[in-house]
Amino acid sequence: MSSPRARVLLGAALFCVAAALLAPWLGPGLDAGSPADAFILWQLRLPRVLLAAAAGAGLAVAGVVFQSILRNPLATPYTLGVSSGAALAIVLFLVAGLDARLPGHFGRPAVGMAGALLAIGVTYRAARVRGQLPAPTLLLAGVTLTYVFSALIVAVQYTATPEDAALILRWLVGSVESGLGYLPPVVIGVVLVPALAALLPLGRAFNALGGGEEAAQGVGVDAAGVARRGYLFASILVGAIVAFTGPIGFVGLIVPHCLRLLGAVDNRALLPAAALAGAGFLVLCDGFTRLVFGGRLPVGVVTQLLGGPFFLALLLREKRRLY
């Protein structure tokens, strides 16, 4: 692997470690001797940092996967209906009051993954033409599905009790403050590890897909098989994350693009770098909400507030050179 890619990978690793070390201390100051502050650090902030890291890593990797398969820089879990499919499933699950009835909240990620898989399944079926999956059709199907799911979520919200409606609203903004301690990061980690094990080795195949399905098949890539594996693992990853954090936007879009602009276009470097930088990015965003807003503003708002202008600036500076 040549040096620019190695540099980006190393930089992403350092960024991730620095963010993880720094983030627990961002926010109102903690007193080392106080039991109350020890509780805040170990039972509130640390699980939050871990959840942000796991969610950020998963969302960024899912973004790389969808973009690579579709060869479209705008493909994300959102544009394919995966996030909203998981969100609708979770909203129905919460309103039905099933979350509290199932022990350990394990129903939630299962329902989220099922919703995500159902959504990608419908998108896939709708877009399939004679054994091929044309990217424009797939994106159109995904965006359409997102609208339908969003409308259904609003319908559920309007007919729910005021308490449920408030709960849904808060969850929909996207937050890593789950109130469930170490459970969410552990559950997401259990999904993240096998998903990364399945997705990281696809780097070479994703590179070959960069020139199109036919060019990739010409060098021996099983394009349909790679796409199926990518959609499957990226979707269950998104489903498990959304179940606990709600749909957090933008991570899957800007993290991969920033890394590409910095020189990691090669997916062998981009996939692991996205996992590291995505983790660091969401951890820092969450630390920022504690520092500036005392943790009251959900991280989903901050990723878009911080990420949007940063990404626009980067795009304006680099677009002529690269795209």
């Binding site: 195949a205 590179n207 960069g210 020139g211 036919e214 060019a215």
Partner: protein
């Protein structure tokens, strides 16, 4: 028997028949020009011969073994296919694009071997892109991108090269350079093109398709005549031979 042999190939796109019982063979060392008007089945035949398209009927044998009995990587180590066009959305470097040709070769932990690096360097030099190895593919001109794609096929190290219009976007200098590279290629080359002069000059054999069927298969001197041009290409044209070279001069 060594070679890429095909018989009775039938392929359809919806209701349209693209191949209607095509048969033939490409032997090691062959230079075969694949000719025919638009929609005659040239691209479909290339796709069927490398396993990208599974024909509805018929067989393709790679050195005696049916193509569908081999894994995709096994096929790609023996047969390199350069599609007619490709579009890169992300700014991969030229070297990264060419390295994709090494996909069918084992790479523990995704890292390239010395053999991979050597193959990439040789391929870049062959298409005169060594100086552009770190440029983004999205920044290149159409002809440069075409050469990068061809370099990827060369880096694949396959004994059978199936090329769909490899010289269409190239300037004269690079067209000649690429043709010299292909002439030196140790394996077989099957080259689909609309350039009849080029095919007749550089290929020892011409395989002419028309409406998904083989219209002619043989040496240029035996195949390329006014009757064939009128029947297959629907043009009135003369075939001239100057210093042993063929020139097709269309009238009207």
């Amino acid at each position: 028997m060594a070679g890429l042999e095909f018989s009775g190939l039938v392929a359809r796109y919806g209701a349209r028949v693209a191949l209607d019982g095509v048969g033939g063979a490409v032997r090691p060392g062959d230079r075969v020009g694949l000719l025919g008007p638009n929609g005659s089945g040239k691209t479909t035949l290339l796709r069927a011969l490398c396993g990208v398209l599974r024909p509805e009927r018929g067989t393709v044998l790679l050195d005696g073994r049916p193509l569908e009995a081999l894994s995709r990587r096994e096929v790609a180590r023996a047969v390199a296919y350069l599609p007619q066009e490709e579009r890169w959305e992300f700014p991969f470097t030229v070297a990264e694009v060419v390295l994709c040709g090494r996909f069918p070769h084992p790479a523990p932990l995704g890292r390239e071997s010395d053999a991979d690096r050597d193959a990439v360097e040789a391929a870049l030099a062959a298409v005169d892109l060594a100086g552009m190895r770190d440029r983004a593919i999205t920044e290149l001109s159409g002809g440069e991108r075409r050469r990068a794609a061809l370099a990827r096929s060369l880096a694949q190290g396959a004994p059978y090269l199936l090329l769909d219009e490899p010289t269409a976007a190239l300037d004269l200098e690079h067209r000649q350079a690429i043709l010299r590279v292909l002439a030196r290629h140790p394996g077989a080359v099957l080259l689909a093109t609309h350039d009849l002069d080029l095919a007749a000059e550089r290929c020892g054999r011409l395989l002419v398709l028309d409406g998904g069927r083989v219209a002619a298969d043989g040496a240029p001197a035996d195949v390329l005549d006014e009757a064939l041009l009128a029947r297959v290409f629907r043009v009135k044209a003369r075939v001239q031979r100057v210093d042993g070279r063929f020139h097709v001069v269309a009238e009207g």
